[in-house]
Subunit: 254 residues, 4 copies
């Protein structure tokens, strides 16, 4: 289980969410409260949009709490849309290629959860990738694979929610066909440079938590509340999707 | 193009080949002489057999020339059979998972070369892996993939030379079927804890160099001579296989 | 606060203490029980003696729990005398140069604790180093500095306990002269290739814990018991020194 | 010997100098042309000013040529003033703490060169640091030490050129007093967020090269020309100082 956050709104320094709050993401890397794993020290990553369509990405295998580059970068770079993630590895090994956010073109993706029986499913899931996305596969995680599968659906013309639904349904169907009992868990955020889709989903009723906080000039989503203002963070329900756009957000059943 | 060495014989400190010679492997990481790429600084690895069947492996993404751990390890550990490799990445990214030697059970493998048109072939080559080896895939290199394919053949009962031949023929057949003109290049060493097979092979006539040096109590193979004793290093011919066993070695056409 | 262990006895695989026990040092890197800091993920190190006088040292900035090299090394290398350490940084930054064990010639040193008011004392403590040891200073920690100061005393002809006492007294005198109230804490192990001195000391009465476990063929010292056999681990008292030699150990007041 | 560059002018993407030119700094990390050491693969760093007084700094021990974070950061971040450096270690070990730029408050510093007889001089040079800067010492390089000494002079009220002159004269006097024959070499750039001072200096007449290129909207300084436009890069003379400010630059004898 990992921890993540996403922000869309007026440009702010990344540190305002990543490092500064009492229970910031960097703090959660050392001691998360609502996570199965207390420590999320198996690497981290941050992705942010500037003036170009393609985002910047900084990923590192060290724990977020001890990385001076992350502190400095977060105190210097402002962004209107960024994602950050701290990892507790469940598989795939420690490597930058296995750190979130994953990126392709103008898209960024962060994920907390897992595909039940991934070892049995990896081959068939990878076989569903079109050639040009198969070539993009760099690591060994289920998260990167889900992202590339979603990209494939987007390229087919689906909307982001449709693409996520198609990939999750496809995955669950494969799990059922193999009689895999371990659940599919999927708390994730996908961004295209203009908007964020954050989904809380699971094949059972224990989807990883997600919270949303509207704030002056923007909106943040996170695995757990970042500060003492716990009441300001609305929990998303099971199978609920948050759609963030400049100036507004919507919650939808999924 | 990478540089590597392999040794079988009386136990020696790893440093005697890895760090000490005037043109040692560590030195080659900074300045190789017979390589297309002068610098081999994209990580390195060392694998050695002790008293257990499973070898020890140390892989790191830093350049070999600046790694104090490698110096210290090589000065303290003795082994009767070890492999070492410095990497110049041609693809797959910088990660320990992409560093050689690759290992599985009691086997170690190092490779210098490439599969022409790998981007087009990766999917079909990976699809040839049996399930339990597919799950072992950690990185994105052609080298790791060739190793797992060879493992599959060994598990089917083939000898090491037969397994390498089967994989190379299968790969070349796929290249021809796709009309890929870029060559297959394969200088590699495979070890099982008791013996080493070192092969110099290419689909054209420009296989990466390999040299063999019989020495008191053992035998070494390397991409290029390691010291001033250049004449002591016999070049392997194109498509020649060296088979090293305790007390003897054989050269065979392949 | 860090966690460490030391072993002297019949050669064993490092993993028997480092990775295998239910509450092994690797496990403690993620979740220590008797430490002020639960997580000790700011790097680690291992030092072991082979056949040469100079020990091998492997230090890394990643958390011990995620380092495959450590697992492999520990499963392959046997030693009759080794030290291992997982770090929770209190100062000095994340770098291999700040990881334990520190080494000089045939000596190894690991430390858990801190020098109260170190920022004020660093300059005067460093000024006490003789030139050739001043040049050996690589990092910025109090631990490395204490080690080099102990080396200086050893080179003057003191025994190991005398050298530690001289350095601790000198440091405490400097602290008192500056009216520093923060305590000096010093749980440490020093090895010379033949013996280990493990000391539990503090200027107040809250020295970091140390436990000793005699076992068949040897003796281990650790910050906290490594397994379920908690009763087999004798706690050292405040200001108690354990002296381990082949075939025997002694506990002395300090 | 290292390679570096500095830029002041209209905001540009860092990549325009760091990664894009045919002979960019990233390219020089693999193959420099006017450097004693061809490969500058012992870490790198980049420092840039945004809207705050304190700059952002990203330093890493990997070679610049293989770091995807650097590529991504350089393609996303724009700055009106930045410094970048690739390192060929001459001493001090591989650690982020030994990578340039060094930073303190609003200042950044990059250096190519060395202090002759540094091993003999380190102690006396460090003793000249005031307490609060002594505490800032993180690594072991002569470069960091020269930077902190310059900071001390700036805090005494000197201008940047005066501070550099005072430190260089002090160092040379110490070298002469010890009869050190190895030269002092100092090609460096110092920035305060508004201006850059780039100095080419040596105690002999072999100061490391520096080139200056005025360009539309700004001015760049580099160890060697970055592109095919070699004539556009004016070599600085021995003991010449370039002072870059918004809209203008001056060359002065030093």
């Amino acid at each position: 289980m990992c921890r993540f956050l996403a922000y869309l709104g007026d440009p702010i320094y990344l540190e305002q969410l990543v490092c500064r709050p009492r229970h910031s993401l960097v703090r959660q890397s050392l001691q998360a409260e609502e996570s199965k794993t207390v420590t999320n020290g198996d690497g981290f990553g941050i992705g942010w949009y500037g003036e170009r369509e393609t985002p910047g990405v900084y990923r590192e295998v060290m724990p977020a709490w001890s990385d001076e580059n992350l502190l400095s970068l977060s105190a210097t770079v402002q962004s209107r849309l960024f994602l950050a993630h701290v990892r507790a590895a469940t598989g795939g090994g420690i490597a930058r290629q296995n750190c979130h956010p994953f990126h392709y073109g103008r898209y960024l993706f962060i994920h907390n959860g897992q595909v039940g029986g991934y070892g049995q499913l990896r081959r068939v899931l990878e076989s569903a990738l079109p050639d040009h996305l198969y070539e993009q596969r760099r690591g060994a995680t289920d998260s990167e694979l889900l992202f590339l599968l979603i990209m494939a659906q987007l390229q087919e013309g689906m909307s982001a929610p449709e693409a996520m639904r198609a990939v999750l349904q496809h995955t669950e169907a494969l799990m059922q066909a193999r009689d895999i009992k371990a659940p599919l868990r999927f708390a994730a955020a996908l961004a295209d440079g203009q908007q964020i889709w954050a989904l809380r989903y699971a094949s059972d009723d224990a989807a990883p938590t997600l919270y949303l906080k509207p704030q002056a000039g923007g909106c943040a989503v996170a695995s757990e509340p970042l500060g003492d203002d716990v009441e300001a963070w609305r929990p998303l329900g099971q199978r609920q999707l948050a759609h963030l756009q400049p100036g507004r957000f919507e919650l939808q059943p999924f």
